[in-house]
């Protein structure tokens, strides 16, 4: 399978481990970054990871940040993405089987490597079981976002990053 993956700077080493793990299992992985531990912003990598799925360059996506919340929220804010943030295999299975989730989110500082690997294996191998009821729910979720003009816009965050560089955002 083709898997799109993205992370923030807190968990790059964990993302690298998952990339190796997936490649060893014969999957093709598109690594959207970030690639080092230099401070950056999770929506950049969430958006890139999601776009590979939306553009059908990848079958499924995986996103990881510290708690998983920031990056998984960012992908859910993109039309056509249904992402679950999980710390257990049960929810990973449910989200694919019932909601046909196309991205799975994990907290790199929350979940251990063994559980993470099994969550990902389960997410990839579980098949969506369509029913009239879940089809309607999925349709309702997908119809919630009307404006999708930001998809594939590489300059969407440029002005914010400029403000960051100018020191506008500081602790």
């Amino acid at each position: 399978m083709k898997i799109s993956i993205g992370c923030d700077h807190i968990v790059t080493d964990i993302k690298n481990h998952i990339v190796e793990y997936l490649e060893a299992k014969g999957h093709e992985v598109i690594d959207n970054g970030t690639y080092d531990h230099i401070r950056t912003h999770y929506p950049i990598y969430g958006k890139k990871t999601a776009e590979r799925v939306i553009n059908k360059e990848a079958d499924l996506g995986i996103v990881i940040c510290g708690t998983g919340v920031g990056i998984t929220t960012s992908v859910n804010k993109i039309k056509g993405i249904r992402a679950a943030l999980v710390r257990d295999i049960t929810t990973a299975k449910y989200s694919k089987e019932e909601l046909n989730a196309n991205i799975i989110g994990i907290g790199g500082r929350i979940t251990g490597i063994g559980l993470m690997e099994e969550i990902i294996d389960t997410f990839i191998s579980t098949e969506y079981k369509e029913t009239e009821e879940n089809k309607e729910l999925i349709k309702s979720i997908d119809n919630m976002i009307e404006d999708d003009s930001y998809i594939n816009d590489e300059h969407l965050f440029d002005d914010l990053l400029e403000k960051w560089d100018r020191g506008y955002y500081h602790d």
């Binding site: 401070r39 912003h41 919340v69 960012s74 679950a84 943030l85 999980v86 914010l160 960051w164 500081h170």
Partner: protein, 142 residues
């Protein structure tokens, strides 16, 4: 601060439990799903819409796994929703992600853990600063 709470049919019992718990701690609680037969799309939308009415509102959405409500709430502009099943995530996400709503799975967590997650969420503050650029980025999406 008001706590807006809602659930689908599978989350109804945990919602009732958390309402009692929050009332005993003197929180102002608004139950937007007294009807026990909603689906998670309906209940998560109701909570999100109510949360957006005031700056100081925070929300709790409950279904069996927490995943469906999480997807729905995050599709709404201005909402940042966290699907959590541990206490650490509950306060980290409030501090770093400016989280407005937490999503809980009634089939995933027990009552005591649910109570402690809720307290960790409500009793911490967003820290702003460098985190705000990420929130501004999320608002560029949906």
């Amino acid at each position: 601060m008001k706590v807006i709470i809602g659930s689908d049919v599978k989350g109804f019992k945990l919602k009732e439990h958390l309402i009692k718990f929050l009332n005993s701690k003197d929180y102002k609680v608004v139950d937007v799903s007294p009807d026990p037969n909603l689906n998670f799309v309906e209940s998560a939308k109701l909570v999100s819409e109510e949360v957006l009415k005031e700056e100081d509102n925070f929300g709790i959405v409950i279904d069996e796994y927490g995943a469906g409500s999480f997807m729905v709430a995050n599709k709404i502009k201005g909402i940042i929703c966290a699907e959590v099943s541990d206490e650490h995530s509950a306060h980290m996400t409030k501090e770093h992600n400016n989280t407005k709503i937490i999503s809980l799975g009634s089939g995933i967590i027990g009552k005591t853990l649910a109570e402690n997650i809720v307290m960790n969420f409500l009793n911490n503050e967003y820290s702003g600063g460098r985190h705000q650029i990420r929130i501004d980025m999320l608002n560029r999406l949906a």
